[in-house]
Each structure stands twice: as C-alpha cells, then as structure tokens.
C-alpha cells in the first residue's frame, strides 16, 4: 500500500492557505507531470498544417474522438463542452497511463493520483456541478421533470421522483469512486502478484516454479489489461459526463 502514500515534497509540508494545508506532494507532482506531458502532446499537434503530420494526426484523433462523443450523446448543443470533456478525458488518461509507467526499475516511484478519491472526487463534483448549473440555467425549475420519466402513472410520480432523485444524487459518487476503485484495484492486484513472485522466489525454487512463475506470467497479461483499464476508465468518466450533460441540455 506504500505506493498510495502521499508525501510532501521539497519541504513544502507546511505550506498553507487560510489554515488549509496545500503541501506540494508526490500526488501534485504527478498531476504536474501529467499536465506538462499533455501540454507537450497537444502543443506538438498544434502546427495547424493543412496536411497533418503523425503527431498532429494523433492530437486531432483525440479532439475528433471527444467531438464525436459529444455529438453522439448530447447533439449539436454539445460542441461547447469539447474543451471541458477533452481536458477531463486527457487529464485522467495521462494520469492513469503515467501511473503505470515501470519507472520503478530506475528507482523512482510512479504515483497514480487517480487512485485517490480526494482527487477523482474533485473532478466528479466538478462535472456534477456543471450539470446542475447548466440544467437549472437552461430549464429553470423544469429541470426537476428529469426525475419524472415520461409515462409515469400519476400514483407513482412521487415515489419515482425520489428514486430518480437518489439515482441522480449518487452520480458524483459513482463517477469519482468508479475511477478511484478501478485504478487502485489494478495497482493492488499487480502489487500482490509481484509480492508472490518475489516472496516465492526468496522461499525456494520449487515454490517459485509453482507459484512465482505463473504469477509472473499472469502479471504480464494484467499489465496489458491495466493499460486497457487506464484508457477505458478515462473514457467512461468522459462518456458519463457527456450523458449527464445530455440530461442537463435536453432533459428527456
């Protein structure tokens, strides 16, 4: 579990604003690394050539992907959310993938800040707040009709309203927790398997052959799976935000 520990860096442990600690931690460092990597990636694709190079093509693929996702889920009104969804998706994607980098072999410690719900929760609450703000700004109190689906019998309106309200209010939690749990579970799984490999190797050769080696083979597969999960969780976060924005933009 040490890999999830947050430690202040550069003697910043006592930085604070209005009594709140804002230490520059290893978590913040990896946010900075993800930000810089994303900045380099997008800047490299901003040459604005009519005939794109590979890099520009890669960046345009991502913007086109986000644009298509918003067009499919929200419709023409979704165009204005491209900067937000792009930032969200790329920030989470870079964080997830950078956290998987095997830089442990260089003696460094990769840190996945998306495995902390204190970080994912901020992103989830931000998405949820945007949905609320857009929903109430656009539909005023009609936004509450979101909680009463079409064709609900009059008798069921009140119970359904509360059921839908709860499912709506659960969204920020499910959004933030899903990402945190998926990232943490993957890292814990890899850690457990790698401890099998090392501990069985230290015990004796026979145990290594029956437990360590299969675990190692399994780890290779799970590493590939984790790369997939890193992308899928970023996609799910962005996609669900799109779906929620659709509710806010178009009601039903």
């Amino acid at each position: 579990m040490h890999q999830f520990t947050i430690e202040p860096l550069f003697g910043s442990a006592h930085w604070n604003i209005a009594g709140y600690n804002i230490a520059f931690t290893n978590s913040a460092l990896w946010m900075a690394i993800a930000t810089v990597a994303l900045l380099i990636f997008v800047a490299g694709g901003s040459k604005r050539q009519l005939v794109p190079g590979r890099w520009q093509m890669a960046v345009e693929t991502f913007t086109g992907f986000i644009d298509g996702m918003l067009a499919a889920n929200v419709g023409p009104n979704g165009k204005k959310y491209v900067p937000y969804i792009f930032s969200l998706f790329m920030f989470i994607l870079f964080a997830n993938v950078l956290g998987l980098l095997p830089i442990g072999v260089l003696g460094l410690h990769a840190f996945t800040f998306t495995s902390h719900f204190s970080a994912t929760g901020v992103l989830a609450i931000m998405s949820f707040s945007i949905v609320l703000v857009v929903g109430f700004a656009k539909h005023k109190l009609h936004f509450f009709s979101l909680f009463v689906p079409h064709g609900t019998p009059a008798l069921m309106v009140v119970p359904i309203f509360f059921v839908e309200l709860v499912s709506f209010l659960v969204r920020p939690f499910s959004l933030g927790l899903r990402l945190f749990v998926a990232m943490m579970a993957g890292h814990v799984l890899l850690e457990v398997l790698s401890s099998f490999v090392i501990d069985s190797g230290n015990a004796n050769i026979g145990l290594f052959a029956i437990a360590g080696l299969p675990s190692f083979v399994l780890m290779v597969g799970i590493c590939a799976l984790e790369l997939l999960v890193a992308a899928i969780q970023a996609y799910v976060f962005a996609l669900l935000t799109c779906v929620y924005l659709n509710d806010a933009e178009n009601l039903h």
Binding site: M1, I6, Y20, M31, Y84, F86, S87, M90, H116, F180
Partner: protein, 164 residues
Amino acid sequence: MPQIEQLAATYSSQIFWVLIFFGFIFFVIGRGMVPKIMDTVAQRDKQIADDLLAAERARKQADAEEESWRVRENANRAQAQTLIAEARAKAASETEQRLAAAQGSIDGKIADAEAAIAAARQAAGAEIETVAADAARDIIGRVAGLSLDEGLVRAAVKENLVHG
C-alpha cells in the same frame, strides 16, 4: 489504505492541486489550443468538401462540353455525309450524261459505218451484176454467136444472182 488514513491531512492539498492543474489544462489547453486544432480540422474538411465540389463541377462541365462536342460532331458528320452524297449524285449524273453522249456518238458512227457498208455492198453488188451481165453477154456472143439484148441479159443475171 492511505486514501482514507491520510484523508484528513491531505484532502486540502489534493483538492487545491487538482483544481490548479485541471484549471491550467482547461484554460490553456482545452480553451486555448483545442479550438484551434478543431478549427484546423474543420478548415481541412471544408477544403476537402470544396475541392470535391469543384471537381464535381469540373466533371459536369467536361461532360456538358463533351455532349456539345458530340452534337457538333454529329452535325458535322451529317453535313459531310450530305456533301458526299451530293457530290456522288452529281458525279454519277455527269458520268451518265457523258456515257449517254459517248453512246450516242458511237451509235451514230456505227449507223454511218453500217450505212457505208450497205452502200458499198450495194455498189459492189451492182458492179458484180454489170460485170456478170457483160461477161454473160460476151460469153453468149462468143459461144452461141448470139447478140442478145443487154437488158434481157442483165435481168437473167440478176435473177440468177438473187436466186443463186
């Protein structure tokens, strides 16, 4: 689980730095760079669409030009055909006339020649008659010692010549 154990100590720093870095990404990358990239893509798509449209228009124009060329060509060909037919008819009639004229002159010559031959034959026949009558009278005079009338001898000779 450090996420929960350290929550009280680190939540403010986590929230602060996420907001700082996500804010930077949103305002600098999301708002600053992404619209330009999408603009480039839209511009490219528009250019491609325009080029396709221009190509389509050029193709249509080429088709129309080909069509008009075909019409013109067909008209020209038809005109050429009529010219050829006219020339052929004219040549044929001229040839016919010339042939007819030649035939006429040939026919005239043949008729003249036949007439000349007939005249010559008649003259020759008359001469033979005269010579035969003279000879017959001579022979009769010498052999029979008769002096016959010339007209009588000639009539007899003529009868013999005609009836052979």
